[in-house]
Subunit: 408 residues, 2 copies
């Protein structure tokens, strides 16, 4: 079968050049990429191995498996990893300008320590220090910063994903009737997503976080708090899957939160709509309107140079003005502390619209903005779109009709 390059060598070269610039600015001599997503971004391939990027010179993807496939996919040079215990020597031989054992000048090598398991980190540290490096330093910040800015190629994949979510949601809405369980409806929307190319899961960088396609949660079950680092939780299928769908049947006149995403050609999209069969209670209908007002205000504010934390602060203000502060982004002690999050190859990218994130927006960022309100016992309402920051107003990448979706 034909294995195609997913990104061109030029794209890979550009990404690596930018990484090397950031490395030199941080006095790093080399970067060891270990995670599948990081490997894909900088090589074009997520085969099993380690890519070494020197601050000057040519990178190499050292592959364990599949070497054959990596050679077809990678935009950088591919070599066989060989015995893991000899990896330090392999690197020293390949990069004598970086590893100068015995000169008293240990090489500063970084890795993606926010995801690399400690056990492997300790082994790699030992091998690299034996080859003349200092302790491996955490380079995840410069990777996450670089990946904030998306290219035209990447934007086109978000667009494909947004179209898939829209089609799948509209198809599945035909099956939304009282008595259908959250699980049954989710199975239907997941089927519609999958036949359109969803890879089956949405990748997350955060430890212990997992998500296949999102949440479809209704009424009181939606408002159950959970460990998931988002504004809505869900009763889930029990303690072993304590989030998202449960076996609760959908009822009339209760809020139905449809926080649905997918991953197409590597890129995730994130969109939420709220539906009701019948009529929402006044309190919830009001809160839904406030969520739309907050997202409109965010659209006005998300221009180049706007500060992420200020956008979050403005949303908090709006929630407070509406008398809904305790319900905003979760309830009470279980409130999530953000308004939006970067998306890309992973669902939890940077920037985050949150306190402490005092960086300015730049054109090319893609951010999911998701104002939501939780009412224990009643449910969750809200809206979410994914936006591309441009040199003018933000461009919504998600486009399913807005407004409360009312079904008869």
């Amino acid at each position: 079968m034909e294995i195609k390059k997913d990104v061109s060598e030029e794209v890979v070269r550009e990404r690596i050049t930018k990484l090397q610039e950031a490395m030199r600015a941080s006095a790093m001599d080399g970067f060891l990429l270990t995670q599948n997503i990081d490997l894909y971004y900088y090589t074009g391939s997520m085969q099993n191995g380690y890519a070494f990027i020197p601050s000057h010179g040519e990178p190499v993807f050292f592959v364990k498996r599949s070497l054959e496939r990596a050679k077809l996919e990678s935009g950088i040079s591919v070599k066989e990893l060989g015995a893991f215990r000899l990896f330090g020597e392999t690197l020293a031989r390949e990069y004598p300008q970086v590893f100068k054992a015995g000169t008293g000048k240990p090489a500063a090598v970084a890795a993606d320590l926010d995801v690399l398991p400690a056990q492997t980190y300790l082994k790699l540290s030992g091998l690299l220090q034996g080859a003349g490096a200092g302790p491996i330093v955490d380079g995840s910040v410069i990777i996450r910063k670089q990946r904030m800015i998306k290219s035209t190629l990447e934007i086109s994949r978000f667009e494909s994903a947004a179209a898939v979510v829209d089609e799948a949601l509209n198809e599945a809405l035909n099956f939304l009737k009282p008595g259908v369980t959250e699980l049954e409806w989710m199975a239907r929307v997941e089927y519609e997503l999958r036949i359109r190319g969803h890879i089956g899961l949405m990748r997350m960088r955060g430890y212990n976080q997992e998500i296949a396609t999102g949440m479809f949660i209704a009424g009181s079950a939606a408002a159950v708090p959970t460990y998931f680092d988002g504004p809505a939780g869900g009763l889930g299928l029990g303690a072993t899957s304590p989030q998202s769908v449960s076996r609760k049947a959908i009822e009339r006149n209760e809020p139905i939160l449809m926080d649905i995403g997918c991953c197409i050609d590597g890129y995730v999209i994130d969109q939420t709509r709220t539906a009701v069969i019948g009529e929402l209670p006044e309190k919830l209908a009001h809160a839904y309107n406030v969520s739309e007002a907050i997202i409109r205000e965010a659209e006005n504010g998300m221009v180049q140079g706007a500060i992420c934390s200020a956008l979050y602060a403005r949303a908090l203000e709006q929630a407070e003005d509406a008398g809904l502060s305790p319900h905003f982004m979760g309830y009470g002690a279980d409130q999530a502390k953000f308004l939006g999050h970067g998306i890309g190859l992973e669902i939890d990218e940077w920037p985050v619209l949150a306190k402490g994130f005092d960086i300015p927006l730049e054109a090319g960022m893609v951010i999911a903005v998701e104002p939501k309100f939780t009412f224990p016992g009643d449910g969750v309402v809200g809206i979410e779109n994914s936006y591309l920051i441009t040199d003018g107003r933000p461009r919504a990448l998600t486009f399913t009709r807005e407004g409360l979706i009312k079904l008869p």
Copy 2:
């Protein structure tokens, strides 16, 4: 909504008592559990936080989110985690018998370092050392060993999962026709799995490994090697999902490998069957028969006391006797080096039927045995069942009809 305890306090207490025995045998004073699956196994809850198990005395689950839910789910004491930067002091206050700063006797604290990201490991190490501990040691081996032996409760969950896979597979077989793509059929079987309670993904402990429901791969696309640490790979949906299903249409007279699993109430099951629409070429039909002969031999050999590596060696012998060594468990450089693997809360548990795994089988182990043969350009054939080791012959937990599934 009602949050129910998933395992009783008695079960949790038993598991913790066993862990404490193993800790004392390894001279560990405390164990810090960090991963969601490890937390669930030893507390009954996978909320966000850290559980501390002293070698003597009462464990505590320190929870960040959701505290409310953890209190309802956990079989051990739950306390609020509080500020992360003060976690060392919190532990020292709670466990003065473990953390004796200034006495010159640093506490030996272990953690699940095979999964804990290095960045968090380094922060936790700093906090714990400030509180009087030595460097955190890797305790993952004792967790993985303990979890090898399953209880009656756990077995009943595998049985539920096996029933779901059987039903879903039989339903989906109605849609298996020439021209249907791998992706389309997979979407169908995933729908059938999901409405029966599959949580949406199958958890893996290995770094960079991911799987939603398994592989449905046919003909030449099935034989494409990939990074996935298993005997079959698959063309996949591109470099960003380089395994399992592709958009290849199913053809007549080619092998169709249906390696399908699911996760029910936390427990995964793993089963493979081979199908063909029409007739298999003689070479592949022969290889399929050899895979059945290997699994029959494994059934005879998997008794208490049998050595894991010897079972693998015997399968290698059978493959060699059949003249199929280069095709066994992948082809050439991309061969997987095992015959079977433990399953449980994760798909890649212990023991592994592989070289170097020189431990004896014990009653209560659950192992997926999956002899397969890969023919580049032609496809993959094989069979897989999940077995419970007993005090007699192994009991197959998977029960879908065996033999090559021939469709007209």
